[in-house]
């Protein structure tokens, strides 16, 4: 349909456009947009170009399209491999989280495949942190014959596709989609759990109340608490809601609550000034590490030095390229994963990740790594084989997940409830001399 000639013809057109000066007369074009574009021209010219690009692209890449891992792992896996799907933001503003998860998934899948008990074929699609794209990505995954999935990286896409996984009865465990809406159909009442959607990370409410209780028990960190959260973010406002509720119940003194949005996530002078003026000696930051790094820098700039306390989103602070770790000195966080943990499992993972991608893995990556191992363990224990139907596989996996205990890089002896929520112990860590130290 689209042959080489058409391709060449498009290229001609593009090249031609660079030499059109002699056609230039006056450019007093009116602002009115009256010119009607002839759609036939568009069809013949533009669409041909678009189609040609598309087809050419598809044609040249169709060979390597199916397996997203390197050819070695998908190549010799053949029909004996489980199709593991998943989606996350690989483009756009949230791409950093999706990329971390994708990288870790590739490492884990390669390791599991090399170990030999269970073979995976990874199919990870881009959803640009958009529920709409996540649903189309789900369509792609389903077309590719996915048998189980790591759901999505972020919460709102997860909430959009979870009911689809439920409908098609495909097992899914999200590494980092921490909102309740990922596992419950009715998140506000915590009812109607999907049953086949699980979480590797803590739910947001869980983190909020755990933080409040920790601060109550450790009054030496600070008693006058300020909260700065990101109001248009699921994760952050989810934690903030339960933190505030729990704090009221157990009598924490919250002196200031400030927020920011995606559109105003650069300047924190107002929030910090007001927290300082309110006399806060502890600032709770239920946010991700990139805005947190700006908050730390700006607080330092204005000579404000309270204790900063955050949740798992803060992990990654130390690995920010170019970040002055002295600024993070004395920052506390409740996180299930720390890249400096001395155990072999963590060290092996961190080293591999660093070697391959030149960065220290954050908790997103760690949770994703655990997802693959947890699924592998469940498949092995349940004696599942790749030729089983998805219904059978889902049955086995759900049964295994609700009964097994799993040890991973984000915690020891994790268990899952039937609702899909994970139980693992969050660790409090404090940054001392640029490394994490366990805090009591």
């Amino acid at each position: 349909m689209v042959d080489e000639k058409t391709c060449m013809y498009c290229v001609e057109k593009v090249i031609g456009s660079f030499y059109n000066e002699r056609n230039f007369t006056f450019c007093n074009q009116k602002l009115e947009m009256r010119v009607e574009m002839n759609y036939r021209n568009l069809l013949k010219g533009g669409l041909a170009a678009a189609m040609a690009f598309t087809m050419a692209a598809c044609g040249s890449n169709s060979g390597s399209a199916s397996g997203s891992t390197d050819s070695q792992s998908s190549g010799d896996a053949g029909k004996t491999a489980f199709k593991l799907g998943g989606s996350g933001p690989l483009t756009g503003g949230a791409a950093v989280y999706g990329t971390a998860v994708y990288n870790a998934l590739k490492i884990a899948v390669d390791e599991v495949n090399a170990a030999g008990d269970v073979q995976f074929e990874l199919d990870f699609q881009d959803d640009a942190h958009d529920p709409e794209k996540a649903v189309t990505a789900y369509g792609v995954l389903k077309d590719n014959g996915m048998q189980m999935s790591v759901l999505t990286v972020t919460s709102s896409p997860g909430a959009a596709v979870a009911p689809l996984y439920d409908e098609d009865n495909i097992f899914a465990i999200t590494p980092s989609g921490s909102s309740l809406a990922v596992i419950y159909a009715d998140a506000s009442n915590k009812t109607g759990s999907y049953g086949n959607c699980f979480q590797m990370c803590f739910t947001d409410p869980n983190q909020g109340s755990a933080s409040a209780i920790y601060l109550k028990d450790h009054a030496d960190l600070g008693t006058k608490i300020a909260v700065i959260f990101k109001s248009d973010d699921n994760y952050s406002s989810g934690i903030n809601d339960t933190f505030q509720a729990e704090a009221k119940e157990i009598g924490l003194d919250i002196v200031y609550t400030g927020s920011f949005t995606e559109d105003s996530s650069t300047d924190f002078s107002v929030q910090l000034t007001q927290a300082k003026d309110a006399g806060a000696d502890l600032v709770f930051l239920p946010i991700y590490y990139d805005p947190a790094s700006l908050i730390l820098t700006q607080a330092n700039g204005m000579g404000y030095a309270p204790t900063f306390f955050g949740c798992d989103g803060l992990d990654g602070l130390l690995t920010l390229e170019g970040f002055d770790t002295a600024l993070a000195e004395g920052v506390y966080m409740l996180t299930p994963f720390s890249a400096d943990a001395p155990d072999d499992r963590t060290q092996n993972f961190v080293k591999k990740y660093k070697d391959l991608y030149g960065e220290t893995p954050n908790q997103f990556a760690a949770d994703a790594y655990d997802c693959v191992y947890a699924i592998a363990q469940a498949l092995k224990n349940g004696n599942a084989t790749p030729d089983m139907s998805t219904d059978e596989l889902t049955d086995i996996l759900v049964k295994q997940f609700t009964s097994m205990t799993y040890d991973g890089v984000t915690g020891e002896s994790m268990t899952w409830a039937e609702t899909g929520e994970v139980t693992k112990a969050p660790m409090a860590v404090v940054i001392k001399d640029g490394v994490y130290v366990g805090a009591e």
């Binding site: 057109k13 593009v14 059109n20 568009l42 692209a57 792609v140 506000s188 109607g192």
Partner: protein
């Protein structure tokens, strides 16, 4: 008689209309057949409804940009209003109206009406401005709508609706349901949108827009666009005329939004940001200003393109950007177009020559 009717459908005056309707109907029939025989991939199935939604919103925007000549950068804001209205209406009526189709239609109508009302309120200040100032004010309204919905909490229980703003103070009785939860938007929405309704919505949008532009008010709209002063001098009320186009555009976006909102189990207010407005604008401009058939085609192609490019993995959006630029260059450059026409001629001649010899 019959022949007369058909030839009338394809004469100069009605041709573009007929082509638009035929295109939509034929596409619908083909897709329905494919879907019933199982030949439709899950990917395409998941794209059907959103394509319909964006098409309707883009048809509305084309009325605004193409016919009325107002650059509107806030179309997503109206979609947002329609979407969350639709979700709330559907959520509230879930127990009283069990027929999903009826509920969907009521939600779409409600979305369209509320968006039209917003269009009216916003139109009063917006249409006093011109050119890029008008564009920036529509952009500003889009941002304000987003920001307001991000801070809105709405719940529903047997005592009726409960609303709070900025902070979540809604406490619901037993069996209550949160409809809007600030930044989390709506979760757990029943997915009642269907492709058939989407296609019907497109056809309705086309009917409304075509009837408008071929009517007296339509000519007035174009008159105001081409020369406001001349239009004023022959007694056209420019403010009212532009307002009409603006409201219809907004209500189409609202209807599209309602359908969109009810197609997903979750919707966050951030979805309808500046980028979505721009996306719809891209559909309109690529399809051709004032050309509804073009809008339908370009929306479909541009929605499909990123999906077809999935195999390129990392380079997908890069290629998408390049394609966008190249299409704009190819379709808008006079030099390129003449060059292309010549090339095409010589190709055809070449083929004929080859056949003869």
């Amino acid at each position: 008689m019959m022949k007369n009717f058909i030839s009338k459908l394809f004469d100069q005056k009605l041709r573009s209309r007929t082509i638009s309707y035929l295109l939509v109907i034929i596409a619908f029939i083909i897709l329905q057949i494919m879907s019933s025989t199982g030949g439709l991939s899950s990917l395409l199935k998941s794209l059907l409804v959103p394509v319909c939604c964006y098409t309707v919103a883009a048809i509305g925007l084309n009325l605004n940009v193409g016919f009325s000549g107002e650059l509107n950068l806030g179309q997503a804001g109206f979609m947002s209003v329609g979407a969350f209205t639709g979700i709330c209406v559907s959520g509230v009526l879930a127990s009283s109206i069990t027929n999903p189709l009826l509920r969907l239609i009521i939600a779409i109508v409600a979305g369209a009406l509320i968006a039209a009302a917003m269009g009216y309120i916003i139109g009063i200040p917006v249409l006093k401005l011109q050119g890029d100032y008008l564009a920036i004010v529509t952009l500003a309204f889009g941002q304000i709508i987003k920001s307001l919905i991000t801070n809105m909490y709405l719940g529903f229980d047997e005592n009726g609706l409960h609303m709070s703003f900025v902070e979540n103070k809604v406490s619901l009785g037993a069996g209550g349901k949160m409809l809007l939860q600030g930044p989390m938007g709506a979760t757990g929405t029943q997915r009642i949108a269907t492709f058939t309704i989407g296609v019907i919505l497109i056809l309705c949008a086309l009917t409304i827009v075509y009837n408008l532009i071929y009517s007296k008010s339509g000519r007035a709209i174009m008159g105001c666009r081409d020369n406001r002063i001349a239009a004023e001098s022959i007694g056209i009320n420019v403010a009212n005329t532009k307002m009409l186009a603006f409201i219809i555009s907004a209500s189409l976006a609202g209807a599209a939004g309602a359908l969109y909102g009810l197609n997903y189990s979750t919707l966050v207010p951030n979805k309808f940001d500046f980028n979505t407005s721009i996306l719809i604008l891209v559909f309109v401009v690529l399809g051709g200003l004032g050309n509804m058939t073009g809008t339908i085609i370009s929306t479909t192609i541009l929605m499909l393109l990123p999906e077809l490019l999935r195999s390129l993995q990392d380079y997908r959006m890069l290629i998408y950007a390049v394609v966008l630029i190249v299409i704009m260059l190819v379709t808008n450059n006079a030099f390129l177009q003449t060059k292309a026409a010549k090339l095409r001629e010589s190709l055809i001649k070449g083929k004929k020559g080859a056949k003869q010899s």
